[in-house]
Symmetry: C2
Subunit: 224 residues, 2 copies
DNA sequence: CTTAATTAATAGCTTTACTATTATCTTTGC
DNA sequence: GCAAAGATAATAGTAAAGCTATTAATTAAG
């Protein structure tokens, strides 16, 4: 049942991996433990050797699933965005009022991910931390254009587009819907990171609620 | 004369370097060429060996100036923010109208840096590209807290604070002035990067002007 | 002009990132 | 039930990156 839900809802572009990690125990272990290890060490100090030690396997076995650690992080973030998109659709499908719908979307994009028991080998709240701390490194590389050509950012772009459509529902003349939504998503991550490490760059009177409130207010005042 | 201006206006925290690169020919060469090389290769593929080959020196000589390449990038971005702060003060000192002042600040923060002939060994427009593409990596590391303790982000925090004061001049009750300004600075960089590499995430009808227009509108509508 | 102090170059070491090859484990056809 | 074929994992490497101890050369002080 979990497996079924897994297969149907979360679909990752197969150019990210050499062999689908969902297809074997070792593969699922790679995904599961890489989340913890990247969170623990940071992406720079995360290596396949350390990961293989942790899961009792070898470096070259991991290389059979992923070309390099960059692709592992791409897999993890794609999974995260896909999962979030699924929740977005689920939470807004019954909402008629476009204003309410956009508000729900912004809350989802700016709040902390909750654990989801449907995917047993993925810890969503740790994954969320990894996405906040590391995901921007995925497109700040020399390979960004070829990765983009391969469709490795498709899920993310689709999510941004989906929310920007909600913006246009409210104001069809608004010129910067994509800019606004990608600013909200990336900005919310950044502000959470700043709150933890560089609090002078943010205003943390009321923590996470502040971030959601700030971005909600930014969006609605900008498009009206 | 250039040297004098150099010494007086741009002051870098001396914990960034082991030996001040301004103090010697080799040091200035390291700064000058590292800008081009990081821009060319990206930060990941930039190494001290490659840099030393380019400037006709050796790896270990560069290590006498900087602990590692991370500190070089910290030096470059600190220099950039310091230089921008200097321009901000210069451009707004005679502006009385707080609205006009903030508008000038946002333009400066969201537009492309122009070449400044006062600093002969630094190419500001290439440095700006480096800051856009690489600077976020500086605080997405395991060392962010200790770097912050050492004051390596002070210039940046001071710049954000300076502009957030302008926001508070216009609306003393606005709760998120720092969040707003750090979102603008980081967001403008991000959108420029997206426009080049992931255009689906932005709205590039009118290029750079669009970005300035978007963020100006976001700021003024949010604080009013 | 000799000695001390500073600075640069040489050579090497450890770790990372990756790969070619060998070994082992499953199938599955008969 | 078992051998051949195919798939999977472990071994053993290589090249480059990141860093350092040591030696050589240059500059400054007395």
């Amino acid at each position: 049942m979990n497996e079924l839900l897994n297969q149907t809802s979360i679909k990752i572009n197969d150019k990210v991996f050499l062999k689908n990690p969902e297809s074997s125990n070792l593969g699922r272990n790679i995904i599961s433990e890489s989340i913890f290890l990247i969170n623990e060490l940071g992406f720079e100090k995360f290596t396949f050797r350390k990961l293989s030690n942790k899961i009792g396997s070898t470096e070259s076995s991991i290389y059979r699933y992923f070309e390099n650690k960059h692709k592992v992080l791409l897999y993890l973030t794609s999974w995260y965005w896909c999962w979030l998109e699924y929740q977005l659709v689920f939470k807004t499908v019954n909402t008629k009022d476009p204003q309410e719908k956009l508000k729900t979307a912004i809350e989802l994009l700016t709040q902390t991910a909750k654990q989801d028991s449907n995917y047993s080998y993925i810890n969503e709240s740790v994954l969320h931390k990894v996405v906040i701390a590391e995901s921007s490194k995925l497109y700040h590389t020399q390979e960004v254009d070829s990765d983009n050509k391969d469709g490795l950012f498709l899920v993310y772009k689709r999510l941004v587009h989906r929310v920007s459509v909600m913006v246009l529902e409210l104001n069809p003349n608004y010129e910067y819907s994509h800019m606004l939504i990608s600013t909200v998503i990336e900005g919310a991550h950044q502000q959470k990171h700043f709150a933890l490490h560089l609090p002078k760059l943010t205003d943390t009177q009321d923590g996470e609620k502040g971030i959601t409130h700030f971005f909600t207010q930014v969006v609605f005042s900008s498009i009206s």
